[in-house]
Structures are given as C-alpha cells and as structure tokens.
C-alpha cells in the first residue's frame, strides 16, 4: 500500500498544496499569518527537504526551534521544520513534508493542536492521550507545529488519503489558532516529549513508519472536534472483505463512526457475487476520517479489512487486488497453454487495467472480445520478451489472431502469439505456419504478412483488421526481413520494388529504415520533411485511411524538425518525391504506430491534417492552392493505387 499511499499522498498533496499552500505561502493575505511571511519565504525550501530523512535530526530541529521560538516560532519552525518534517514524512514521502511545511507556515501551534486532536478522533487508542493534551495545550502550542507534523505525518503514514484531509484540516485550524498562539512561542518544544506516548498507538493501527510522529501528536486537543474541512470527503472504500461478508455486518461497524449514508458493494455483474470491496458514504467527513482511522484493519469474518479514502487510486487498487486474486485463481484453473509462468503478467501491469488494457490492444481489431480473458495470460509472455516486439506482436495478433482464432479456440492463442514472431525469431513462440498456413513464407509474412495473409489465405470469419494496424504490426517485424528483398533505390518505387507487392510501400519504408542503411533514407528524410503535409502522400499508398494516418503520424512525429522544410513540401509535387516521403513516413509511422490503435490513428490524422494545411497557408499563398488541388487528385490516385495494390498483394500470397 505504500506506493499507493504515496500516490495518494501526492494526490492529496496537490489538493492540499494547491489550496492551502496558496493561503500560507501568500501569507500576507492572512493577517494572522502576517508573521509567517518570513516563513513563507522558506516555503520554497520546504520541498527540498521532502526526501530528507532527518531521523535524529528531528530532535535537533526541535531544539533549534526551541531556541528560536522567542523570535518567531513559526519562522523557526520553518527553518527547523523542514528537517523534522522530512523525518516525519519518511513513511509518507512528500506529502507529509508538504503538510508539515504548511503547518508551520500557516498555522501556529493552534493549528497543530487541531491536527493533534484529530488523531485521537481517529484512533481510539489515542483518545486517552488526547484527553491529556488539552491540559497542556498552552505549553503544547509551542509544540503544536511539531506535533502537528507528527500527527499529520502519522496520519499520512496511515493512509495517504488521510494525509490530505489532515493537512487541510490543519491548515484551516492553524489559521484559527494563529491568533492564539502568538503569545506562546516558548513551550513549543516541550510537549514533544509527551508525544511519544501517543504515537505508539498510531503505528499499531497502521503501518505508519513515523517514529518521529510519536513526538507530537497529543498536543492539539482543542480543535479536536473541528469538522474535517479538508476536502469534505465523505466517501471511503472498504476492501479486503470476504465475498460473504454482508452489508449488515459492515454497517453495524460503520455506524459506530458516524451516520452512514450509503453502502454500495462492488459485485461481479454476471453473478452478483461480491468483489470484496465496497464504497461507504458517510454523512459527515469527520466520520469518514474517523472510520478510516479506526476501522482500518478491523476483522470481518476472520479477515482484516482495509479502509481508504475514496480516490480514483484507491478504487483501482482495490479492483486490482481483486483481479489479482481472481486471475491467479482462474489462471491456475484454465488451460495454461504453456504460459503459466506468464500469468504473473496478469498482475504485473495495472491489475484493473490488465484485462482492459491488454484487451484493448488485442481488441483493437475486434473479434477478440471473447478471448480477452484468456488471451491475457497468453499475451503476457509476448510482452515479456521485448516491449517493442511485444506490442507489435500484440498488434499482429490482432490482425492474425482473429483469423486463427476463428479456426481454433485454444489454439488461437498460440497463433496469436506467433504473430510477432513472423518477422523473425523474436520470441520463439511462433509457428508462423500455423497462422498463415503451411508453406507460407515467413519473410514474406513479416513484410506484409498481416496484409498478405488476409488477402491470401483468409481465415474464415476473420475480421479484417484495420489496414494501418496490420501494417504496423507487421512493420514491427520488419527488421528481420531480408533487406535484399527490397533493393536499394527507394525512388524506384517502394511499392513495386518490394517483392511482395504493393502493400509493401509503407513497409518498405519502414524496413529500410530499420535495417540497412539505405542511401535513400536520408533522402527520404528530406523528402519526407517536404511532404509534411501528409495526406497527399498517404494517398499514394493506396491504403486509404491507413496511409493517411501513417503519413500524418510521421508528420506529427517529425513535425518539429520538419517545420522548417514545409516550404519545400509545398513546392514539391512529384510523385516520386511523394513515394519517398511515404516511405520515410512509414518509417516514422512505425515508430509511433506500435501502440496506436484505430482510434488513435484517426486522431493523429485529424490533428495533423489541420495544422498541416494551416502551415501551408501561412507559409505561402501558392502552396495553399497547390496543396488543395493536390489533395483532390491525390485521392483519385489513392483509390486507384489502392486497387492496384490490393491486386498485387493478393497475388503474392497465393504465389
């Protein structure tokens, strides 16, 4: 939970910092904090100490503060605080620090007391301590800042999200207290000693590592009951429950902390079974925070629950945790298909998103929906061997898998995985023949396998993948294609040149790029720059949208460098140039396409298109008309060439 906690902290910190920092840093705005202006200046340094682990230094800081308190407790606190803050925050990275910083700045001891008070609320164990605190408030005021640090840190330690709440609370309270505190700089540091007794309880409840926190917590008692103003968060997530833990059981415990507005369980839609986590809404934010502190770890049916403030991160964590559990179970049951070890991949990525993310990749082409669940374990292996490859492989799978998948259900996975291997040796999982049918030339496949494969031995029921995607996936394997196949001289005509035929145009560009130093590369680059406009060139390919996307993408990719050469583009209208540009574009496209899917292609295209044209306009009048007029004939070209390409492509596979 720490990483998650960190996230939460950061998240909270942003909120908190955003608002409260504003208040405090611009201390001048708040009269009570006028004296904090000096401190505010120090605020800038606070972040520097975020990662400082003061440890023993904390006490030193406190002593320093003590000595300096007469001057300006807050000021001292600032100076001193960064260090202790850092230590306190150890358990919880920056957010703690930030909050600590805010506290001294904005709030005087009073503020701290509030935070300190909060602790007791949240932790039943602390309650007694809190009671003791009020008595020493005055003396503790001096301490308050530190304590608040601790308390906050402790809070942070407990739950990242809590930190946010805490900090905000403190901030608010500090404002209130600042007036009161001014008179008591002296005792600042004294109460520290008393704090430790409270601290132990806190850590017990949470894995708070804030040993430093021990020092201060109990101090602030007055503002204890102040309502949580921090972010008004009344929602909590309670997770790690058994699926048979009922809402009634939960409610009976929840009502101890306050009025419950709603309990909503997360269930599996298909069966209604509980996923083991639920969303609880309290009527009152203070109750929510109290519950978070108090109920975390409560044992329901023999299992300790986890309570977290409701943030997008926490719900994701809960879902991820659930997915990990279920996937591990389901994977152990489902046919391993030799991918068992890879099942870890399920949990590897974002737990929640694993199915969806991977599925998204695979499903980009459609037709995989049914396989998504099982496909994931299989995919994991693919991804592992090499990211670039893996993703490409995924795309290949998309293109090829549907075909293969249609024929075979379980076997489809193997085929799908084989996809990436087409181009070359990549993962060794491949059985290209399995995919494309016996006798299929792997190199050929690598080149335009997706394409050729489909047009050739079309898999029954195969869903024609988005051409652009196909190419991309294939392009990924390009490097393994025998460069000799293409020959030099892109200018000669990328399409015709490639033995495989038309479709290779884009691929050719990529392959050449990938592999052997084509003389044409540089040339291509130049031309490509000139063909920044994109769409026109794309049309040459005959891939229609696909090519457009590619062209656009490459344009986007190299837009920065190509800006200067746009003028060239407007000037060049040779088909030859265009071809070259296309090749270059493909190269760029390949780099950027791996992870793009259909929709993203379109987005690129739209994005690119407009700026491209605008640039033309800006660059020069003549280009505008030219570009426009060019666009029209281009389209015709495109359709024509596309047909031709298709014809070529189809022929090749069957040969």
């Amino acid at each position: 939970m720490d990483p998650g906690g960190d996230e939460q902290l950061d998240f909270g910190d942003e909120e908190y910092g955003g608002s409260q920092k504003m208040q405090y840093h611009r201390g001048g705005a708040i009269p009570a904090l006028a004296e904090d202006e000096m401190i505010n200046e120090d605020d800038e340094y606070d972040d520097l100490y975020n990662d400082v682990n003061v440890g023993e230094g904390f006490l030193q800081m406190q002593q320093q503060q003590r000595s300096e308190t007469p001057r300006a407790p807050l000021g001292v606190g600032n100076g001193g605080f960064p260090a202790p803050r850092a230590s306190v925050q150890d358990p919880r990275a920056e957010t703690v620090v930030t909050q600590g910083v805010n506290i001294p700045r904005s709030a005087t001891e009073g503020k701290y007391t509030n935070s300190g008070v909060r602790f007791p609320d949240q932790k039943s164990g602390l309650a007694s301590d809190v009671g003791a605190l009020p008595g020493t408030d005055a003396s503790q005021k001096g301490r308050a800042p530190e304590i608040i640090h601790n308390s906050q840190a402790g809070n942070l330690g407990y739950q990242g999200s809590m930190a946010v709440a805490m900090s905000q609370k403190v901030g608010v309270e500090s404002l209130d207290m600042s007036g009161k505190v001014t008179g008591e700089p002296g005792p600042l540091l004294k109460p520290v000693a008393g704090a430790p007794r409270v601290i132990p309880q806190v850590p017990a409840n949470h894995m708070s590592s804030s040993s430093n926190v021990n020092s201060i917590r109990p101090v602030v008692t007055e503002n204890q009951v102040r309502p949580a103003v921090e972010n008004g968060n009344t929602m909590l997530f309670v997770g790690e429950l058994h699926w048979w833990t009922t809402d009634a059981e939960l409610e009976s415990v929840l009502t101890q902390y306050g009025k419950v507005k709603e309990i909503k369980f997360f269930d599996e839609r298909a069966s209604g079974k509980s996923k083991g986590y639920c969303q609880v809404e309290f009527s009152d934010p203070a109750a929510a925070t109290a519950c978070k502190e108090g109920m975390n770890g409560h044992v329901f049916n023999g299992r300790a629950c986890v309570v977290a403030l409701a943030t997008p991160q926490t719900i994701k964590q809960m879902a991820a945790s659930y997915m990990n559990k279920t996937q591990v179970q389901s994977q152990s049951q489902s046919q391993p298909q030799g991918r068992r070890p890879m099942n870890d991949g399920a949990g590897r990525g974002n737990g929640t998103n694993y199915p969806s993310g991977d599925a998204g990749r695979n499903f980009g082409r459609g037709g995989w929906a049914g396989r998504g669940g099982q496909g994931m374990p299989n995919k994991a292996p693919v991804g592992v061997p090499g990211r670039g490859r893996g993703t490409v492989g995924a795309k290949n799978m998309m293109g090829n898998a549907p075909g293969g998948g249609n024929g075979v259900t379980g076997g489809a996975y193997g085929q799908g995985l084989a996809g990436p291997a087409f181009g070359g040796p990549p993962t060794g999982l491949m059985h290209p023949q399995a995919m494309m049918g016996p006798g299929f030339d792997p190199t050929y496949m690598g080149r335009g396998a997706g394409y050729g494969g489909f047009s050739g031995p079309a898999f029954p029921g195969m869903i024609p993948p988005f051409p652009a995607v196909n190419h991309m996936g294939l392009a990924g394997v390009a490097p393994h294609v025998n460069p000799a196949f293409f020959g030099r001289g892109m200018a000669a005509n990328g399409m015709g040149m490639m033995g495989t035929g038309g479709m290779d145009g884009p691929h050719a560009g990529m392959w050449t790029d990938a592999s052997m130093g084509w003389g044409g590369e540089e040339h291509g680059r130049r031309t490509r720059e000139s063909s920044y406009g994109g769409e026109d060139n794309a049309s040459e390919y005959g891939y229609g949208e696909a090519s457009h996307d590619k062209g656009v993408r490459s344009s986007a990719a190299s837009r920065e460098k190509e800006r200067g050469s746009e003028r060239d583009w407007s000037g060049s209208s040779d088909r030859r140039h265009r071809d070259e540009r296309e090749h270059d574009r493909d190269r760029y496209d390949r780099d950027h396409r791996y992870r793009e899917e259909k929709d993203s292609y379109r987005e690129y295209r739209h994005k690119e298109r407009d700026p491209g044209y605008e640039d033309d306009y800006d660059r020069g009048q003549p280009s505008r008309s030219r570009s426009r007029s060019r666009a029209v004939p281009e389209e015709h070209h495109r359709s024509r060439s596309r047909d031709a390409d298709y014809g070529k492509r189809r022929r090749l596979p069957s040969e």
Binding site: L241, W244, T246, D247, K264, F265, R269, S271, G272, S274
Partner: protein, 182 residues
C-alpha cells in the same frame, strides 16, 4: 391458487384479444425508474413484485405471453405489490389491470399456479439475480414469477400502447436480452 402442477395450455386461437385504453409506464427512463424505486424503498422497504407466466400452445410448442412496450422492450404481465398485499391477490390485480377488459363482466378468473422463479435485485440497478447474493442482506426488490393456468376461453384486452406477443420458448432460451428483463 391452483395447486396442480399440470398446466393446460391452449392454442392462441382459443383466446380473444381486444384492446383498451393505453396504460402508460410510470417512469420515462431507467434512471427515473430506479429513482422512484429508491424513494419507495425508503418508504416501504423492499419491493415485492409479481409476474405471471401465461402459456399458450402453438405449433406444438409452448409460447409465453409477453407485453411489448415500444418495439424492443418486453416484459411479463405483473407489477409491484402494495405494501402488505398478498402475492396471489396482488398478481390477480395486476393481471386484470394489464390484460383484462375494463368492464367488470369480462374479468377473467385468474388461476394462479405455483411460483416458479424468484429474482432478487441487490442494488438500485437494473440487474437481478435468481438468488440473493450472499453479501446482501437488504435486497431492494424481490420478484416472483407465477404460472398462470389459463382456461380454454379467455378474453384479453390489451392496452393500446402495448402489444401482446406470444413468444416461443426457444426464443427465450439462452437469450441474454430476454433473460435480463426476466
């Protein structure tokens, strides 16, 4: 309530179908429906609803009478019970409301058979399950389906805004769309 487990079914032709004034849905949208459900839950607690399965025989295959709203949505005749109302009585009331002619003379004598299915709604959502999930102690709705023994001759008056369909069982089998509304 008919206790016999044998249901006699008759061909559709043995029944007469007329029309009557439209019976509009109380809710204009799913969201409205759920909101109203929530309100009622607060007032009355768990909703119990009943629906009747009316069978006819056509082509040597049982068909179920469903009311079609609009062009897509089908449902069984039935509805929500008033608080404390007996299930059988409530179902008779609902069947008459939906399918019986308005005139008192032509009120069919509904023979309600056994309960064949119970569906539970765990949350204020559209989904229902044939069981109450174990972690739910307060389902929001419980729907009971009863077989209705039709006599050989009946006169049904269908509201003008609804269509009465006789849906063969094979259409319902493994049909996710239909299953969801049951």
């Amino acid at each position: 309530m008919v206790t016999s487990s044998v249901v006699n079914t008759y061909p559709l032709s043995s029944y007469t179908f007329g029309t009557k004034e439209p019976k509009m849905e109380k809710d204009t949208s799913v969201a409205d429906r759920l909101a109203r459900m929530k309100v009622n839950y607060m007032k009355e607690g768990m909703r119990t609803s009943v629906e009747g399965i009316l069978l006819v025989q056509e082509h040597n295959h049982p068909h179920i009478l469903l009311l079609q709203i609009g062009n897509t949505f089908c449902k069984l005749p039935g509805g929500r019970l008033k608080p404390g109302e007996n299930e059988i009585e409530g179902l008779k009331r609902k069947l008459s409301s939906k399918l019986a002619a308005n005139s008192a003379a032509l009120q069919p004598d509904w023979q309600i058979g056994e309960c064949v299915a119970i569906w539970w709604r765990p949350n204020f959502e559209t989904i229902m399950y044939p069981y109450c999930p174990p972690h739910i102690t307060k389902p929001k709705e419980c729907k009971k389906l009863f077989l209705v023994h039709l006599s050989e001759r009946e006169y049904f008056a269908v509201p003008k805004n609804l269509k009465l369909l006789a849906v063969p069982l094979f259409e319902l089998y493994d049909n996710v769309q239909v299953a969801s509304l049951l």
